[in-house]
Symmetry: C2
């Protein structure tokens, strides 16, 4: 039995979940805030859907200037609009960009946000904000940017293509796995992460088989919430440190990189933490975590090798050097350059991750 | 795959967990609140321990008039003291009575509470307050009474006698089980409840075997938090409706009543919700939930029959009539008077709860 020593922070947030109920749930949350002048943030592409979801709300300003990565100028313009229209609440409908813009306004103004996510990105469940200035990204953590309420309506995700849903779902799965052993992972994060893995295991195959499977969509959306909540509390573990470098330095596609790398990190770490391995396995309906993950990946026809996305074995030494300093001290296995080379080589080739599970000779 | 439709509310609260660290964790939380005039609520019996935990804090008033069930006069006196001493934060050290008194002050004043629990009662994790006026109990729910921070130091629970720890732990287990199917039980409650069951299954046998087992104590204390959080969100299910009537009308002892009744309720409900049954079972390290619970109860030498505590078979009809109207509509099985009679008769005699699991003929 291991010792329990942790700090966990809960923040005020209502999670309202109901398919087909976005409009009624949103109306109730706006009323709960007693908001009288709402700023609606939704891209022009979302305008029609946003219009029907917000019908009847006291909207003082509709803001459709939603851009990826929240450019600083866009944030400043949105803040100016919020001030000019004297708004008292922000409602954002969309994915990470719309939610990110609402967060940028909340950061400066303290205005409460109600988020209606239409993707599985999970930003609505975190205190993390981000903005870009001439392509340079700044991020921060502030409790004020956490939406006061989230309205989850899985019908809004029915139109996400299967491939994107699967990639995004596997990204959520990676958040859950890192949520088990990230630098600040606590038992509550782990409980939420395990629940997220379970929900993805239920939902993702259903969505992959039929993009209109509403119950499957609900489970993936629910898991997106859990994965973001667990991951933002636990912090980036080995998996995300690897993917961050691969995405940044080698321009590999985000979702595919996560999908490929995850089984190798799991294979590497899991043998060192059998109690965590067993919990991940159980959540995947398997007796072994890696077996369970690989079975799920096969069902989803998930990406297999980094070489398919432009990463080359000749990049490995450089990548290892860039990743190693960022590996959390509390990673279940102490990570050597040689180990990391093995992991990246296997991920590059798409070879069987079970080979990584074997104790590596250089390992103490 | 079932549909997901729920509302879940997270409230701001920090959970700080570290054995032997009450003093340093508490000091950090007082500083985080920037409190300069603390009111310390701790019974005279706790005075010495409370003194050492709070050494160095800016204490404006020490309040030791802590009584069971928070009599209204005691609450009013404590509020007057808070005002007279111009306090800006409440620190309570103790069990349900100390925390209950702090809640009564917070309810009237909005003062933030930091709770340092010394029992497994769990009140620190809920928005529920209670007071008694001439023996009549009033309870309510208010977000203001939720402690802003909880400092859990399992060393403070080492002196709880084993029998009381086991009874209190089984009470927490009952909270978790009702957290799976209470009237407002949502998937997040269920995930927390399952984690609580798991922690009790780990911790309780260790504490029963050795009252000084610190890691065991940590797991029970952690579970007490989870069980209270899950239960207060999910609301009273069948188990608590039964125990509430038995405790009130027949004066049966609280903890023992819970300990006896739980397996019968589990046996009755579980067959109707196989997915929940499997999750409880897994958390108890068993393939069947009832088997797992009974194995744990044997390890703990838990109470077996209500007749041992003064309940008689001739009381059953009256008890059934009192319980039935309170049974939640969404209980996994529709409960008839006949069913409830079977459950109470078995619990009274202490007969094998597995007999309850059989479909009862009157069941639709």
């Amino acid at each position: 039995m291991h010792q329990l020593r942790f700090e966990h922070e809960n923040l005020t947030q209502r999670i309202c979940f109901g398919s087909g109920s976005a409009r009624t749930l949103l109306a109730a949350e706006v009323e709960r805030l007693a908001a009288e002048r709402v700023m609606l943030i939704a891209s022009a592409r979302e305008a029609e859907r946003a219009g029907s979801i917000t019908a009847g709300l006291p909207i003082a300003h509709r803001h459709s200037e939603v851009r990826m990565h929240v450019p600083v100028e866009a944030a400043e313009h949105a803040r100016a609009c919020a001030a000019r229209h004297d708004v008292d609440a922000l409602v954002c409908i969309g994915g990470g960009s719309a939610i990110g813009l609402a967060k940028a306004v909340a950061l400066a103004t303290g205005l409460p946000i109600i988020a209606v996510p239409t993707t599985y990105a999970g930003s609505e469940a975190t205190t993390v904000w981000g903005m870009t200035d001439n392509g340079r990204k700044t991020t921060g953590v502030d409790a004020r940017v956490l939406p006061r309420a989230i309205v989850y309506d899985a019908e809004l995700t029915l139109s996400l293509p299967v491939a994107m849903s699967v990639a995004s779902g596997l990204n959520a799965l990676a958040h859950c796995v890192d949520g088990m052993w990230g630098p600040r992972a606590d038992p509550i994060d782990q409980a939420l992460a395990v629940e997220g893995i379970r929900a993805l295991w239920i939902g993702l195959p259903a969505v992959a088989a039929n993009s209109r499977d509403l119950a499957g969509r609900e489970h993936v959306l629910y898991a997106a919430y859990l994965s973001a909540a667990a991951f933002s509390s636990a912090g980036s573990g080995l998996h995300h440190k690897i993917c961050h470098v691969l995405g940044g330095a080698y321009n590999l596609p985000h979702a595919q990189t996560h999908a490929v790398v995850l089984p190798y990190v799991l294979a590497y770490n899991a043998p060192a933490v059998p109690h965590i391995q067993r919990r991940i396995a159980a959540a995947l309906g398997a007796s072994d975590a890696l077996d369970g993950l690989q079975r799920l990946r096969r069902q989803l026809d998930a990406p297999k090798a980094l070489s398919d996305y432009g990463f080359r074995e000749s990049d490995i030494d450089e990548a290892v050097a860039a990743i190693l300093p960022g590996v959390p001290d509390n990673n279940p296995r102490q990570v050597t350059a040689e180990d990391l080379g093995h992991v990246l080589r296997a991920a590059c080739r798409g070879s069987d991750p079970a080979t990584i599970s074997q104790p590596i000779e250089s390992q103490p």
